[in-house]
């Protein structure tokens, strides 16, 4: 199978300035998705965030007034008189606090529901989309890369929705509110703060931008080290057998040193940024205090929205706002950084979503059929044991063709990658009940032929007919339902043995499954398992032997009972006794069906009706065993072991 190089690597791309490349579309699409999933809830949560954070920015207004009151009454010391005034200021503040708390509680609770709901819907959409992708996608993408969409990339989106967007809204609204309050009190002081903040952002931008480079270097180091660890742990026994421990450890130490160095740089940057920003904030605070004090003392005019003259109560409130303002501006820039770094992951999620699903223009369907003694086929609404192709025609008429299992490939050409012909002029005729075997070296195109019959891939030229119908007209699902499949590599699912057999026919009764297992020769060992058919399988049936897993796969195909079977023989060696059982199971399964066998050993081939010898995508010899042996050609050489089969 051709394997393409993955389209992207896990590391973030950097632009010329050493910053991560950024795309707005990914952010827009993420927000679009959340809105699509939660058209009312999401805006509601946003409003709640804006409200609760705006309220938390307001106290400055009240503290200023209270401090002014204190200033007025300190001299007289008449607390009783001041008390009612202060309480009058505090009351609305308390009301606002209560509202803000309520909004915050509601928002965080609903936010939790929304985030997890979003993730659930996102995962499901990804998974649903993935199920509809053509096999080509899975053949050309590394499984590890596909998996990382579900783990790393989805996690990036979670962070975005769960943390970054709320934080941006929160800080953003606080910044805006505080900014206006500042303007309300004093325009000159506000301008001073703005200048200071600009300086602060310049520094953090310089530092933050520079750090991206180190984070990418760290990621690369991590990937290299983890790859090495994976390989060495898998091959640890080989390492022992070859006394290779010291070299292996030495290679590891080198990678480990490098990782440590890169990680240190990245972390050092991240760790110092916080104190730097915070203390610039502190210095700014002092500057405002001193400059503000000087301003106050100098008695300069104080242009402001409120028109108030600058006094100590305003200055104190202003100083508190300085901290709030700088703190939140920092939050904003930090979150923007997080979003930028994370966008690569989001982008990949959308790439998977944008993959084009398998196209299916088929309109011929498979239906239950009643077959009259005279051969006329009529559709039935229940299981009859007979099937027919229901074929609607352009003129509105319907015809029914009995499902027999006659498969013909006529002049078929195919290539996985344009220009690299894999199959040329392939002609295969399989009549119902016939057994057709393909032999040939690795890469000769054996597996490719079966990939075409069930339309995992579409042919480039020529025709494939199934019971006389061009398979392009048949709905893919129905086509595949009519073709049984036992693959080279056995894949079982987590679940019981029974579940795994039933995978072949979801509505099969337990008895049907048992019968299929008996036919496959699997019943014997299954009943001897501790829990029999209810034995739980996990990790691709790792608790079973290779042969046992194959037997279950055969039973799974048997329960589906299709008229046509595709058998791709296992290459891995199993012991002779089990192999004999598997062989018997295969033989039973083949009885009475049209069978395509891809042979890796010649044991299954000899009794075939016709053997196709493939070489570089062409059929170079065809005929039954005896004829081919007599011809003393390639097949003869293969048979006598002169060529490698696998």
């Amino acid at each position: 199978m051709p394997r393409a190089i993955p389209k992207y690597t896990a590391d973030t791309k950097l632009n010329k300035r050493g910053r991560p490349a950024f795309s707005f579309t990914a952010v827009k699409r993420t927000i679009g998705l959340v809105t699509e999933f939660y058209p009312r809830l999401f805006p509601a949560v946003c409003v709640l965030i804006l409200f609760s954070s705006a309220v938390s920015a307001i106290p400055a207004l009240f503290t200023q007034k209270i401090i002014a009151i204190i200033g007025e009454w300190t001299a007289s010391g008449d607390w009783e008189a001041a008390k009612s005034l202060i309480v009058r200021q505090l009351m609305p503040l308390i009301v606002l606090y209560v509202l803000s708390l309520a909004a915050l509680t509601l928002q965080t609770q609903v936010g939790a529901i929304l985030t997890q709901g979003f993730l659930d819907k996102l995962r499901r959409r990804l998974f649903d989309r993935m199920q509809d992708l053509p096999i080509r996608y899975f053949d050309t993408h590394k499984h590890g890369d596909i998996m990382s969409h579900y783990t790393n990339d989805v996690d990036t989106l979670r962070e975005l929705v769960d943390q970054s967007i709320p934080a941006l809204l929160r800080s953003g609204s606080i910044v805006v509110v505080v900014f206006f309050i500042m303007l309300w009190y004093s325009i000159p002081l506000t301008l001073m703060i703005l200048v200071g903040v600009a300086a602060m952002m310049l520094v953090s931008g310089k530092l933050g931008g520079g750090s991206a480079r180190f984070f990418v270097a760290q990621q690369k180091s991590v990937a290299a080290t983890e790859g090495f660890i994976q390989e060495m742990m898998a091959g640890q026994k080989v390492v022992k057998v070859f006394n290779h421990e010291a070299q292996s450890a030495e290679n590891f130490d080198r990678l480990n040193e490098e990782l440590c160095e890169n990680a240190r740089k990245a972390h050092a940057y991240a760790n110092t940024l916080g104190p730097i920003i915070m203390n610039i904030g502190n210095i700014l605070y002092v500057l405002i205090a001193v400059l503000g004090g000087a301003y106050l003392l100098a008695g300069l005019p104080n242009p402001s929205i409120s028109g108030m003259a600058l006094d100590i109560s305003i200055l104190v409130a202003f100083l508190n706002m300085t901290k709030q303002f700088t703190g939140n501006v920092n939050q904003l820039t930090q979150q923007v950084n997080v979003v930028v770094m994370g966008m690569a992951g989001a982008q990949r999620v959308f790439e998977l979503m944008d993959e084009l699903p398998e196209v299916d223009n088929g309109y011929v369907t498979l239906v239950n059929a009643e077959i009259a003694p005279d051969g006329t086929v009529t559709e039935a609404d229940h299981r009859t044991g007979h099937w027919a192709w229901k074929h609607p025609h352009g003129d509105g008429t319907l015809t029914y063709t009995e499902l027999k299992g006659d498969v013909r490939l006529v002049d078929v050409d195919f290539s996985y990658v344009e220009g690299k012909q894999v199959l040329s002029d392939v002609n295969v005729f399989a009549e119902p009940g016939q057994k057709v075997a393909f032999v040939g070296a690795t890469g000769a195109g054996k597996t490719t032929i079966t990939n075409l019959i069930n339309r995992f891939y579409d042919i480039e030229d020529g025709k494939i007919r199934y019971d006389g119908i061009n398979i392009n007209k048949i709905k893919k699902k129905d086509l595949r339902r009519s073709l049984g499949l036992v693959l080279q590599e056995t894949n079982l699912f987590t679940g019981t043995v029974m579940d795994n057999i039933r995978y072949g026919k979801l509505d099969a009764t337990d008895e049907e499954c048992r019968a299929a297992a008996k036919l496959a020769g699997a019943d014997d060992f299954i009943t001897r398992l501790p829990k029999g058919y209810d034995t739980q399988l996990s990790n691709n049936g790792s608790n079973l032997s290779q042969g046992q897993r194959q037997l279950i796969a055969i039973a799974r195909a048997a329960v589906a009972d299709p008229p046509v079977m595709i058998l791709d023989e296992a290459t891995s060696s199993i012991d002779t006794r089990t192999e004999a059982i598997v062989q018997r199971g295969m033989d039973k399964l083949m009885e009475g069906r049209t069978v395509f066998v891809i042979a890796h050993r010649l044991s299954t081939v000899m009794d075939s009706d016709v053997i196709m010898v493939l070489d570089h995508g062409r059929i170079i010899e065809r005929g039954p065993h005896d004829e081919l042996i007599a011809a003393k050609g390639t097949y003869y050489q293969l048979y006598t072991g002169a060529f490698e089969l696998e």
């Binding site: 708390l101 110092t272 203390n279």
Partner: protein
């Protein structure tokens, strides 16, 4: 457990301790800043002395710069200490695994070792960094802030007496309720990801059986289940924010109300306006520190599990040790098993090998046949001392294998494992695992013998062709032949092939054996095989069943005496491709 990990700090003790010093410095300054700020505000309020304002301003700027320096330095030293610590842990674990015997490797699966060396160590590194940066800083900040608050605010600080316990209790309750919920859901989440992996791997089956809709349904149910659990867990944690905010608001109202009362009724003599806003700042600092502490509590308990898993590896005793005064030279390739019994673990009920008595002369070719799990691989693995016999003695070159230096023994005994691996580098580099100093000629010669030279030369880059991770870019038969060549390069006294030619065609298989006979006649050869043809011409054939040698002899002897052997032979020659069973 923590003690064991602490040993990994080693040369990074200095940066770790320096971090603490800097952090303490930073915390002290940070606690003093609001205090000084309060004075500054009071000075401005007093409104007379600009000089005094400037003086305090300069002090504050200096303090900020000091705090910046301390914080920055702590950032550097902590990064150095934490990544260095992680490096040492990784180093120790990796080196430890190198000491592992097969028994130890079997105990931890390779994937679990990978997780321990990646995810778990990352967790521990983060925890260590947290520990030295925040776990010290937060309590310090807490204490300093409380002290300063009392010094400055006096009675005003009583608000903390109420607020701190409320917050601590609340945070603890949340953490304790949330943690088990998260742990449970993380496990489920792992399983969900495993099921996706399963689906991707089995995509041909899914599509072949047209089960796309069924798979979607299965996934939806699992994903929804996780959503419900996750929502429950996150909703608990989501209470943190409102709780925190409640405390901040409560403190504010209290300070504003009673602060103003204190100022006014004392004519500003007990506290002044500046102190009120300082109290608000201290309040924030105290509550933030508590919040941090609860975060650390959660993080440390979460990473404790990772620490445990790492220490498990570090504390694992290698099952095999070199003898005190080992013998280095292996005299010849003779092998003797004397009353050998073996089981994989002391707890196992059944012996994997029982009653093995076997004497193989140097230079013999021995074939071993038998079904899966009858003990063939186990038997040969005792020879290079990959496992130790539970009872009895295994001798090589007339000496107990336990007397040899392990490396010398394994140099003399080359073994091609059934589950073999090539590594991602060039073919030549892979082959030189057998002998790092082999000349090019020697490499080619070994490959000729293993029938690998031809196909290697057919690759565009020949011996410099890259092998991909897991050896996925060569066929099964090619991989097996490369592995044989690699073993041959050791020029071993004993060569063991554990089902190593199963994917090689019969003719090549025969050529390889012919080469063994012609070129390395003095090497003892043990060949485990499924095909009778692969061992037919051996000097001695062993048939194993149930951990015992049930039949032994030459091909002719066994054909005459053993029913199982004859039946297997006939079945194989009848059905499978075989040079002698064809129609020649």
């Amino acid at each position: 457990m923590l003690k064991r990990l602490a040993q990994c700090v080693r040369e990074y003790k200095t940066p770790a301790l320096l971090t603490l010093v800097f952090i303490i410095g930073e915390a002290i300054i940070e606690a003093l800043i609001p205090f000084t700020t309060a004075n500054l505000v009071n000075e401005i309020k007093a409104g007379v002395e600009m000089r005094e304002v400037m003086r305090l301003g300069v002090i504050l700027v200096v303090m900020s710069l000091l705090s910046l320096t301390c914080g920055g330095m702590a950032g550097f030293t902590s990064a150095r200490a934490a990544t260095g610590f992680a490096k040492n842990v990784r180093h120790d674990v990796f080196h430890k695994v190198q000491e592992f015997s097969f028994e130890n490797i079997d105990k931890f699966s390779s994937s679990s070792l990978v997780t321990r060396m990646t995810t778990d160590i990352n967790n521990v590194q983060m925890a260590f960094m947290m520990l030295i940066r925040i776990a010290i800083r937060s309590p310090l900040m807490l204490i300093f802030s409380i002290i300063m608050a009392y010094i400055m605010g006096g009675a005003l600080a009583t608000s903390f007496v109420v607020i701190i316990p409320v917050l601590v209790f609340g945070l603890l309750m949340i953490a304790r309720k949330a943690m088990p919920a998260f742990r449970a859901v993380f496990k489920k989440y792992d399983r969900l990801n495993e099921s996706v992996e399963e689906n991707v791997r089995a995509m041909r089956v899914v599509k072949g059986f047209a089960r796309e809709e069924y798979e979607k349904g299965k996934f939806s149910a699992a994903s929804d289940d996780i959503r419900a659990d996750f929502t429950r867990a996150t909703r608990i944690v989501a209470l943190n924010m409102p709780l925190m905010q409640l405390c901040i608001y409560g403190n504010m109202v209290f300070v504003l109300l009673f602060g103003s009362k204190l100022v006014i009724s004392s004519h500003g003599s007990i506290i002044e306006v500046g102190q009120i806003s300082a109290m608000l700042t201290y309040g924030m600092q105290i509550l933030m520190s508590l919040m941090m502490l609860s975060m650390i509590y959660v993080m440390l308990t979460m990473s404790a599990e990772s620490a445990k898993r790492i220490v498990e590896v570090l504390d694992e005793e290698p099952a095999l040790r070199n003898p005190v005064s080992p013998a280095n030279a292996v005299a010849d390739g003779s092998i003797d098993f004397e009353n050998v019994r073996f089981k994989y673990s002391a707890k196992a009920e059944r012996y994997a090998l029982d009653d093995i008595n076997l004497h193989i002369r140097s230079g013999m070719t021995v074939g071993i046949l038998g079904g899966t799990g009858v003990g063939k691989s186990t038997l040969v693995q005792l020879i290079p001392r990959l496992y130790d016999a539970t009872e009895g003695t295994v001798k090589v070159g007339g000496r107990d294998v336990r007397d040899y230096d392990l490396a010398s023994l394994r140099d003399a005994v080359a073994m091609v494992l059934q589950k073999n691996e090539l590594f991602s580098s060039t073919i030549a580099e892979n082959l030189r695992w057998g002998n790092a100093n082999a000349t090019d000629e020697e490499v080619v010669e070994a490959c000729r013998l293993a029938q690998a030279d031809d196909f290697i030369r057919s690759f565009p880059d020949g011996y410099q062709s890259k092998i991909e991770q897991g050896g996925t870019n060569v066929s099964g038969g090619q991989k097996q032949r490369l592995c044989i060549a690699r073993a041959l390069l050791k020029r071993p006294k004993i060569l063991i092939l554990d089902d190593s030619t199963s994917a090689v065609d019969t003719r090549t298989d025969a050529l390889i054996r012919q080469g063994f006979r012609d070129y390395i006649p003095e090497t003892t050869k043990l060949i485990i095989a499924q095909r009778v043809a692969s061992v037919e011409d051996a000097d001695l054939i062993l048939v194993m069943d149930g951990g015992r040698i049930v039949e032994s002899g030459t091909h002719e002897q066994l054909m005459a005496a053993s029913v199982i052997y004859r039946e297997t032979y006939e079945q194989q020659t009848k059905s499978a491709a075989n040079p002698k069973g064809g129609e020649e």
